[in-house]
């Protein structure tokens, strides 16, 4: 339980601070911490495989992508320090986010979520593999195609020539 609280605090704090910072690189680094916290949560919950996937994809890949994107889209070092946001929009954003949070938490607390299981269902990686290669093979294939297309698409979009083509 204590572990959960710690993880929760880390995750939320890292996320909130990252979203408020004005230095983009710092934001991304803090987010890495947040994602790592989420991975820790998965471990705590007993989903080791997912935790590793989270680490690999987010902590490893997405963070790198983001950093590269940040660095590629600046003109000078100063650009990392992004301009302050419009107050109106920030207010609206906070209000909206607060409303959503309130609604969600209210709903969760208001729902009679009956008795909970005591232990995590035992799932071995082998079992996962069999599921993926068996009944879910169509999904796996689709995801594969999506990833390939996304990769190609990303390359094509990012590598477009500079002749003003949109």
């Amino acid at each position: 339980m204590i572990a959960f609280v710690v993880i929760a605090v880390i995750v939320l704090a890292a996320a909130s601070v990252a979203m408020c910072l004005r230095n983009l690189v710092h934001s991304v680094l803090l987010l890495v911490g947040c994602w790592a916290g989420i991975a820790a949560f998965y471990l705590w919950a007993g989903a080791e495989f997912v935790a590793f996937a989270q680490l690999l994809v987010y902590v490893g890949a997405v963070s790198m992508l983001s950093l590269f994107a940040v660095l590629l889209t600046r003109r000078s070092f100063h650009d990392l320090d992004i301009a302050p946001e419009s107050v109106t929009r920030a207010t609206w954003a906070l209000l909206t986010a607060g409303a959503v949070a309130g609604v969600l938490v209210g709903t969760i607390l208001g729902s009679p979520l009956g008795k909970v299981a005591d232990s995590a269902p035992p799932v071995s990686v082998r079992q996962l593999g069999e599921e993926l290669a068996g009944p879910q093979v169509a999904g796996l294939l689709v995801v594969g195609v999506i990833l390939t297309v996304a990769l190609l698409g990303g390359v094509v979009i990012a590598a477009q020539d500079k002749e003003g083509k949109q």
Binding site: R89, W92, A93, T96, A97, A99, V100, V103, T107, G110
Partner: protein, 673 residues
């Protein structure tokens, strides 16, 4: 012996000839015309055999029915019917038709499309014979429409002439108006009786059980079902037989070659309407037993016939085109026939139909002979003096004219017209039709005298007329044959010995002596004499010297004659009412289509689906996509929606989030869906 079962042979032979004619190349005139004539003569022989069969048992309606195709648990059935009515009509059509085909050989020999002409003629004959032998109103309707098609093709035979093309269209459309009524009557009858067969061993639509059932049923306005059906079917006859108010196509139909006018628009096709009403006479008369009915179908028939008879004769007085005069005389004579049926004597109508077929074909062919000889001059003011040049034509034409006018005792027209007037006299509902008929007698005699005088007497008024000379035997022999028949046929049904009527009815018609209706007969003789005398007095005594001279009547009353010359302005009236309504309807539909439906539907569709991201694309697509006229409104709606689309991603996201919040709160408050 030909029985009802073999009756299909009669239309088949011309149909085969038509098929052959359609497949021969344009140069194959000999093949096409040979096949056409052989086919029709063949059917004439078959018809004569059929007549012999029919006359052996005149009271019997020998029917042969068969299944056309299965429908539901039953079937749509067709059939052939052999009775004296069918047989007489078939003999008449094939005989007159054969003569006209032969005449056409001479008349059309220079036309490059003559092979096609014979093909169409054969098609027409086949369809016409199909009408006659039908025992089912459905096959009758099918043939009926095919007759309309053949008529369309033949009127528009010289289709490169815009007037001919327009006349053909007018004929088809006008008759189709009537045919729609026919169609509705047909489906009503089918619905009411479950059959379209006329005679079917007691189960047919014209037989007592069905008629009794229908007559007892009240449809609307206190009218029995049979009255409704009868009147709707009568609409078809009105269209086809050129009755008021759908007569306007018939004079225009004279744009077709003259043999067509003779065959279709004088002798046969236009008579189909009369034949139809005579054929379904039991149905038309079924409501007579309902004394309380506000109106009887036959009463309507009688008055329409009377109006038509008078109107046609009046208009004919002021026409100058030889074929138009004859056309209006046809309208008038058809009115007589309808009148006869309306007053209850369908046998008299058929008698007149038969005699009229011969003498009107004779008159038209005579006119054709004149036109052919005078190098297609049709205006009687520009003819004249043909008596000397064209003796055979003149003689036969005179016989035809006297038959039409009803010159007493010798000519057939006299006897058949007499029978009609007699029947009208005995009608106890009203005597107005009789008076209309008597007026028409005078007028007919008058305008035919005028026609004779202007065309044949005096001296030639134009180059064409002066060079006219008699045509070859292929054209004159049919004239002579028809002339002989125009005389002899009258003796089939004289009051003293009404053989034809007895055969048609299948029961002995009581002969009444010549003196029984003598008063009426004398009156009509006087009227005919008066008409001819008046005509001769006005036109024959002092013949016009120049083609451009004014008509004596026109001098006396120019306004009236001009009005009559314009055929009582019916065309103008229709153009101003129905025509304009139609134009308006078309314009309105088109407008609604361009302006309203496209925009409306597009708007709704846009509202549901494409209001979001693609609004600009939709706008462009919509705008270019043929809503050109409605584009302004569309552009407006596009603008409206695009203004909601700020392009601000934050705005969208915020909306979604707030929407979610609202939704959840709503659900919670609402306590579920």
């Amino acid at each position: 012996m030909i029985t009802a079962e073999q009756l299909w042979l009669i239309p088949l032979l011309p149909l085969l000839a038509a098929g052959l004619g359609a497949l021969t190349p344009r140069r194959g005139l000999a093949v096409a015309s040979g096949a056409a004539i052989a086919g029709l003569v063949g059917s004439f022989i078959v018809s004569c055999l059929a007549l012999r069969t029919a006359l052996a048992h005149p009271a019997e309606h020998a029917a042969y029915n068969f299944t056309w195709f299965a429908l539901g648990d039953g079937a749509v059935r067709l059939g052939w019917l052999l009775d004296p009515l069918t047989a007489f009509m078939c003999v008449m059509v094939t005989f007159v038709g054969s003569l006209i085909f032969i005449f056409s050989l001479g008349y059309m020999k220079e036309d490059p499309n003559a092979a096609r002409f014979f093909c169409f003629l054969s098609l027409f004959a086949a369809a016409m014979l199909g009408i006659l032998i039908s025992n089912s109103l459905l096959s009758l309707f099918v043939s009926w429409e095919l007759v309309g098609l053949a008529s369309y093709l033949l009127i528009g035979f010289w289709f490169h002439k815009p007037e001919a093309a327009a006349a053909a269209k007018k004929a088809f459309i006008t008759t189709r108006i009537g045919d729609l009524g026919f169609l509705l009557g047909l489906v009503w009858l089918y619905d009411a009786t479950g059959t379209l067969l006329l005679f079917d061993n007691g189960a047919g639509a014209l037989e007592a059980p069905a008629l009794g059932g229908m007559a007892a049923q009240v449809a609307m306005f206190g009218l029995p079902v049979t009255t409704g059906i009868g009147l709707l079917l009568f609409c078809g006859a009105v269209g086809k037989s050129g009755q008021f108010p759908l007569h306007v196509w018939l004079p225009d139909a004279m744009e077709g070659p003259t043999p067509v006018s003779a065959l279709i628009h004088a002798a046969t096709m236009v008579a189909a309407g009369v034949f139809l009403i005579a054929r379904i006479y039991p149905l038309m008369a079924a409501d007579l037993v309902m004394e309380a009915a506000p109106i009887h179908a036959l009463t309507v028939v009688a008055f329409i016939g009377a109006i038509t008879a008078l109107m046609g004769a009046v208009i004919a007085v002021a026409q100058n085109d030889i074929k138009r005069i004859l056309a209006f005389s046809t309208v008038s004579q058809l009115g007589y026939m309808m009148l006869a049926i309306g007053v209850g004597s369908w046998t008299a109508a058929i008698f007149h139909l038969l005699t009229h077929a011969f003498f009107k074909a004779l008159l038209f062919l005579g006119a054709g002979s004149v036109i052919h000889a005078a190098h297609h001059e049709q205006d009687i003011r520009r003819l004249g003096g043909l008596k000397g040049h064209m003796k055979a034509t003149f003689g036969t034409f005179a016989i035809g004219m006297m038959a039409l006018a009803g010159v007493p005792f010798v000519f057939s027209g006299f006897w058949s017209k007499e029978a009609i007037l007699h029947a009208a006299h005995e009608w106890d509902v009203s005597h107005l039709p009789l008076y209309a008929g008597l007026c028409a007698v005078v007028l007919t005699a008058f305008y035919m005298t005028r026609l004779m005088a202007e065309t044949f007497f005096g001296k030639a008024r134009t180059e064409e007329a002066s060079h006219a000379h008699e045509n070859s035997a292929v054209m004159t022999v049919p004239l002579v044959l028809l002339a002989i028949c125009s005389i002899l046929l009258g003796f089939l049904g004289t009051p003293a010995h009404p053989w034809l009527q007895s055969q048609l009815l299948g029961a002995e018609v009581e002969a009444h002596g010549i003196f029984e209706g003598a008063g009426l007969m004398i009156l009509s003789i006087v009227l005919v004499g008066g008409g001819i005398g008046l005509g001769w007095f006005i036109y024959g005594r002092n013949l016009r010297a120049m083609a451009t001279d004014k008509d004596p009547l026109e001098r006396a009353s120019p306004g009236l004659i001009a009005f009559l010359g314009k055929r009582l302005m019916f065309d103008e009236l229709y153009a101003a009412t129905a025509g304009r309504l139609n134009t308006f309807g078309a314009a309105f539909s088109d407008f609604m289509d361009r302006q309203v439906w496209g925009g409306l539907v597009n708007f709704t569709g846009r509202f549901g689906l494409f209001s979001g991201w693609f609004s600009r694309d939709t706008d462009e697509g919509g705008l270019n996509g043929g809503f050109d006229a409605g584009s302004a409104g569309l552009r407006g709606s596009g603008k409206f929606y695009s203004r909601r689309q700020s392009g601000d991603a934050h705005g969208y996201l915020r909306t979604v989030a707030l929407g979610f919040v609202v939704l959840v709160i709503a659900v919670m408050l609402g306590g579920g869906w």
